[in-house]
């Protein structure tokens, strides 16, 4: 198969190689969602099509790094899950391939917008809104008031109780930074980040770590995607989810086909399948509370109701571009992270 997809048609080699292309169908699947979800997607696709799936789960940043390192000789076929920005960045760098799925008319507008903003090199598969969650036990033990807005987190009594990820290493935290810039404007947004910095006890490396720490009682308030906070509450941890009153940004979990994929046909088959209601309903089996992109897919009653949350008009093209990203991160590094706490 490798030869088939890589070699220029018409050459002698392609002819002789085609004889050997009699392997069982297979697909190398890079997955950036949670482990059990990835497993379930891989096995369900195998059951649905009989194609062998090789799945690797890594965070979206790691997967992006890997795809970039492998660019001259791609090993993966399709990349599913993870926040949309690395997918957009990959599209921008031409690491992923253009594809227009026949399933597209079944999707929500935000999923299609995501695809169109990246020249059809990626597409939305689920979305989740940013917010925060807190450990109710710890909040009570420390006699702290219940926060309900972003600005509440700036109050001095929360000093040492708030955790968020480092925007340099986490897509979630970068979404937070970009959302604050969009909600409050750039200057006031950075003032907010500076005020928050004074209350932060740790910048974690991974995006959902703050709410997990809060669940275990190692931290009080964690700024994360709300569906991550819901998952902790469902798992039995004393976590309450907050949709901040000022409105909030959101992510679009995305999927892309890797440019030069060795199993291009199977990758497209997976792509179409992953956009179907059947595939998207699987999320509920593994406590993934994101909103699916297929209009017909079921949503959980535990999931944050997207209609009650005030969503800002998040500019994915601008804030997903690597230049803007580099600029904001550098500004955050120089103006916020160096301040004493």
């Amino acid at each position: 198969m490798k030869k088939l997809t890589l070699t220029l048609a018409g050459s002698l080699i392609a002819l002789s190689a085609s004889v050997t292309a009699s392997y069982a169908d297979k697909l190398t699947f890079y997955c950036s969602a949670q482990e059990d979800w990835c497993q379930l997607m891989a096995r369900s696709f195998e059951d649905a099509t009989g194609i062998d799936v090789n799945m690797t789960r890594k965070s979206s940043g790691e997967t992006f790094a890997q795809i970039r390192a492998e660019a001259s000789n791609p090993k993966g076929d399709v990349w599913w899950g993870g926040t949309g920005d690395p997918h957009l960045q990959a599209a921008e760098e031409g690491l992923t391939a253009e594809y227009i799925s026949p399933m597209r008319d079944q999707l929500h507008d935000w999923a299609i917008n995501q695809a169109e903003s990246a020249g059809n090199r990626t597409i939305g598969i689920y979305s989740g809104a940013l917010g925060y969650g807190y450990n109710t036990d710890l909040l009570a033990a420390n006699n702290l008031p219940e926060p309900s807005c972003w600005k509440d987190l700036l109050k001095p009594e929360y000093k040492g109780h708030v955790q968020m990820a480092n925007p340099n290493s986490s897509g979630t935290a970068y979404t937070t930074l970009a959302s604050m810039v969009q909600i409050f404007g750039e200057d006031e947004g950075f003032d907010f980040m500076k005020g928050l910095h004074a209350n932060i006890n740790q910048y974690t490396k991974s995006g959902s770590a703050p709410i997990k720490a809060a669940g275990r009682g190692e931290n009080t308030i964690g700024i994360v995607f709300m569906h991550d906070a819901v998952a902790q509450a469902v798992a039995g941890f004393p976590v309450k989810v907050v949709a901040p009153c000022e409105g909030t940004g959101y992510e679009i979990g995305s999927m892309s086909i890797i440019d030069g994929a060795r199993n291009m046909d199977e990758a497209k088959q997976f792509y179409d399948w992953a956009l179907s209601t059947d595939a998207q309903n699987l999320a509920l089996q593994v406590n993934a509370f994101q909103v699916p992109s297929n209009k017909g897919a079921e949503t959980s009653d535990k999931a944050p109701d997207m209609s009650t949350i005030k969503l800002i008009d998040y500019d994915f093209v601008k804030y997903g571009s690597s230049d803007e990203r580099k600029r904001l991160l550098q500004k955050w590094d120089e103006e916020v992270s160096v301040l004493p706490q």
């Binding site: 490798k2 030869k3 070699t7 080699i13 002789s16 004889v19 050997t20 392997y23 949670q34 482990e35 059990d36 497993q39 799936v53 090789n54 799945m55 690797t56 789960r57 965070s59 940043g61 790691e62 790094a65 890997q66 970039r68 390192a69 492998e70 001259s72 000789n73 090993k75 920005d85 690395p86 710890l138 040492g160 480092n166 925007p167 340099n168 290493s169 986490s170 970068y174 006890n201 740790q202 910048y203 490396k205 991974s206 959902s208 770590a209 997990k212 275990r216 009682g217 190692e218 931290n219 798992a235 039995g236 941890f237 004393p238 580099k326 991160l329 590094d333 160096v338 301040l339 004493p340």
Partner: protein
């Protein structure tokens, strides 16, 4: 060999490599098989004419890949040597010429022609577009390359290098080639990235901008802000080096020079942390001392103080690393402390020195190589450690995690990662040289061919009491941490629902018995079997490469030995994260194309862990007197026989240490692995990280506990196989077995 050099018949080793070269060229598939190294589907699938599987000779026969044709000349040349005398100058010249030509041409064509035709623009300018391509080297190419290498080394030996010793010259050549390929080449590729600007040009200014970054060298912690990662790493590593060496020495002394009754328990306990997967100690510490940890809450209730997050940062990392690396110091020191010849100490006692004087002026100075090695290992391990700072670091940034996040982070700055790696390398190499300077050229040889029997004196009482207290306290602490790990694996949901359950083990390791046999239904089996297989393949290879290298370094002298030693130790000083990324960059494209396979994991383990084998070998060999080799050589053995029959048996402790260490390291390594795992070859540690990331501590700890028991079994088994180590000596107590 003594005879064959004077007779007319040619040495069988030479014939073997000539045949191997032809077999590689004419019979085996030249290129890498897409289905993997061990698949043999090609035998029935169009071989030998299909271009995917064809040997080089068949490719050329079909007018394909004609750039391989010149290899026929260096393959044919050695045939002229057959029947010639070894002393004939032509013998050496022909072999050197054919080896160098063949090897050189293989490398040149490998780098010059890739999957998109010519790799370099100047080749395109010179010859025009090639219109053809080639993939990574397979069996045939590898065997051909090996044959050329050893033809070359035999030629060098025939010219009289290292007394014409074929074994030694070939070993040196082999080690140089594999270390160059798997250490220097990827690192060079990675370090070039430090000078690359965003649009792909090279520039020194980029390097300096990244090097003089405040996040690297800032001294803010002196006035309340944060310090740079470089200072953090350095300070942490020095603390860990001292603490682990001191604790390791305390344990070694308790085990060898005290009347303590439960020595075996101490031995077992101190080996525990080394067989522990990364993160687990960190997780256990969080469960004990975190904001909601058992001990924290208990203390807060008892004294009415507010619980704090003191664990997250330098203190937590320091405790975790000391727990993790003390056993390494212990493993190094126990050999050395046991190896100090009691004759010396008995001589001092006979000369009326008291116990304290004997210890201070005889025993301790003889342990200096061990102490220096232990410190060096602790220092470097701490510098390169990745798991503990990741879990417990808080806002305490260290170089290894910074490198990781420079690469995987949203910024994806390979250049910054390379610069950080250089700083890290500078620190570790400085420690390496400081250690050498301190040891100097003194002789620490105490085990010689002469009679060597006696009993180690006990420690002086003034020393024994504090040493015992320190060692026992630490041992109890370790036991507590491990008890916590086992408890954590059977708790439903830590801190929320403390009811006992085996569900985590069931999720991970359930099996179903069906008609066609056992079905491994648990979620962890895949990564578990892969890990066992890869660790089992890597361990003996690591030990072999390490010990041969140690033998060359201590027993042979040849030009460029210092550079050779530097090269073999280098991979240890480079953090795994950098190894991981550099391997992806270097081995994703021909001529060596092994990313996504199990081979790359095995290779990364060999070269990550080889320095430990080397150091263990050097430490033991520097205690074996050279008179042993000399007598063997005088009696007519060649260097291979001497190595095999004299050195190796005396090195059993070092072999055991190297085998055990490389096996468990392969099972517990994380930093390089996280970049190199693929869907087919997922390792236990990367699976566990996934669970930890998912807040699924129960499953992560249950899996880790299982691994601990597996490794414990492996260590026990290896100990049985290699045998208990007894250097001919009377023992202290009549109760123990004498030899």
């Amino acid at each position: 060999m003594r005879l064959s050099s004077t007779e007319k018949t040619t040495h069988p080793v030479l014939i073997f490599w000539i045949i191997a070269g032809w077999v590689g060229f004419c019979l085996l598939p030249w290129y890498m098989l897409e289905d993997g190294f061990w698949s043999f589907g090609w035998l029935t699938d169009g071989y030998p004419f299909d271009t995917d599987y064809a040997p080089a000779a068949f490719l050329i026969g079909q007018s394909e890949k004609l750039w391989l044709a010149p290899l026929v000349i260096p393959l044919a040349l050695p045939l002229l040597v057959l029947g010639r005398l070894k002393s004939d100058p032509l013998y050496a010249r022909i072999l050197i010429l054919s080896g160098a030509l063949g090897f050189g041409w293989l490398i040149a064509q490998g780098f010059g022609i890739g999957i998109r035709g010519f790799t370099y623009d100047w080749l395109k300018v010179l010859f025009g577009e090639l219109g053809d391509r080639q993939y990574g080297m397979g069996y045939g190419a590898m065997i051909c390359a090996t044959a050329f290498l050893f033809l070359f080394t035999q030629g060098i030996a025939a010219r009289g290098a290292v007394n014409g010793d074929v074994f030694v010259v070939s070993a040196i050549g082999g080690v140089i080639v594999i270390v160059t390929t798997f250490v220097f080449f990827p690192i060079a590729k990675m370090l070039f990235a430090a000078f690359v600007t965003e649009d792909g040009a090279y520039s020194i200014a980029v390097f300096f901008a990244k090097f003089f970054d405040d996040r690297l060298w800032g001294l803010g912690c002196l006035w309340g802000a944060r310090c740079g990662a470089a200072w953090n790493s350095l300070f942490l590593a020095i603390c860990v080096g001292f603490l682990t060496t001191a604790l390791g020495l305390a344990f070694a002394l308790v085990v060898t020079r005290s009347g303590f009754r439960y020595k075996r328990a101490i031995r077992a306990l101190t080996v525990l942390p080394i067989i522990t997967p990364p993160f687990v100690i960190g997780l256990a510490l969080i469960l004990l001392f975190g904001l909601s940890g058992s001990i924290t809450v208990f203390m807060a209730d008892l004294f009415g103080v507010q619980p704090t997050r003191w664990l997250y940062g330098m203190p937590g990392v320091l405790i975790a690393q000391t727990l993790a690396f003390t056993p390494i110091a212990f493993l190094v020191l126990i050999g050395v402390v046991e190896g100090v010849s009691p004759s010396m100490e008995e001589a001092a006692q006979t000369l009326r020195a008291n116990k304290w004087q004997v210890f201070r002026t005889v025993s301790l100075p003889l342990m200096r190589p061990g102490l220096a090695n232990a410190f060096l290992l602790g220092f470097i391990e701490s510098m390169a450690d990745f798991g503990n700072p990741l879990v417990l670091g808080g806002n305490f940034d260290v170089l290894s995690t910074e490198i990781f996040f420079a690469i995987v982070g949203a910024q994806y700055d390979q250049g910054r990662a390379a610069v950080l790696a250089m700083v890290l390398l500078f620190f570790t190499l400085s420690a390496f040289y400081a250690q050498r300077a301190w040891l100097g050229k003194k002789s620490y040889t105490t085990v010689s061919g002469k009679g060597d029997a006696g009993v180690h004196p006990l420690m002086p009482t003034g020393l024994a009491i504090p040493v015992m207290i320190v060692a026992l306290t630490w041992a109890l602490f370790t036991a507590l941490v491990y008890a916590m790990i086992i408890y954590g694996s059977v708790v439903e949901l830590w801190g929320v629902n403390n009811s006992l359950t085996f569900k985590h083990y069931v999720t991970a390791f359930s099996v179903r018995f069906e008609e066609e046999g056992i079905r491994w239904t648990g979620a962890a089996w895949d990564s578990f079997w892969t890990t066992i297989t890869i660790a089992a393949i890597a361990a003996p290879l690591t030990a072999a490469v390490g010990l041969v290298t140690a033998y060359l370094l201590t027993r042979q002298s040849f030009a460029g030995k210092d550079a050779f030693e530097f090269g073999t130790m280098l991979s240890f000083a480079i953090p795994g994260t950098v190894i991981g990324v550099s391997y992806i960059l270097a081995f994703n494209v021909p001529p060596i194309e092994i990313t996504g396979t199990g081979i790359i994991l095995v290779i990364s383990f060999i070269f990550r862990n080889m320095p430990v084998g080397v150091r263990a070998g050097i430490a033991s060999m520097s205690q074996l007197d050279k008179s042993l080799d000399e007598s063997s050589l005088t009696l007519g053995a060649n260097s291979w026989q001497t190595f095999r029959r004299v050195i190796l048996p005396l090195l059993r402790p070092a072999i055991l240490a190297a085998l055990v260490y490389s096996f468990v390291r392969a099972m517990t390594a994380i930093s390089a692995v996280i970049f190199l795992v693929s869907a087919e070859y997922d390792m236990a540690t990367s699976y566990i990280i996934g669970r930890v990331e998912n807040n699924d501590y129960g499953l992560a700890i249950a899996y880790s506990t299982t691994l601990i028991f597996v490794m414990l079994a492996a260590v026990g088994l290896l100990q049985l196989l290699v045998g208990r180590v007894q250097i001919g000596r009377r023992t202290q107590h009549g109760s123990e077995k004498t030899t």
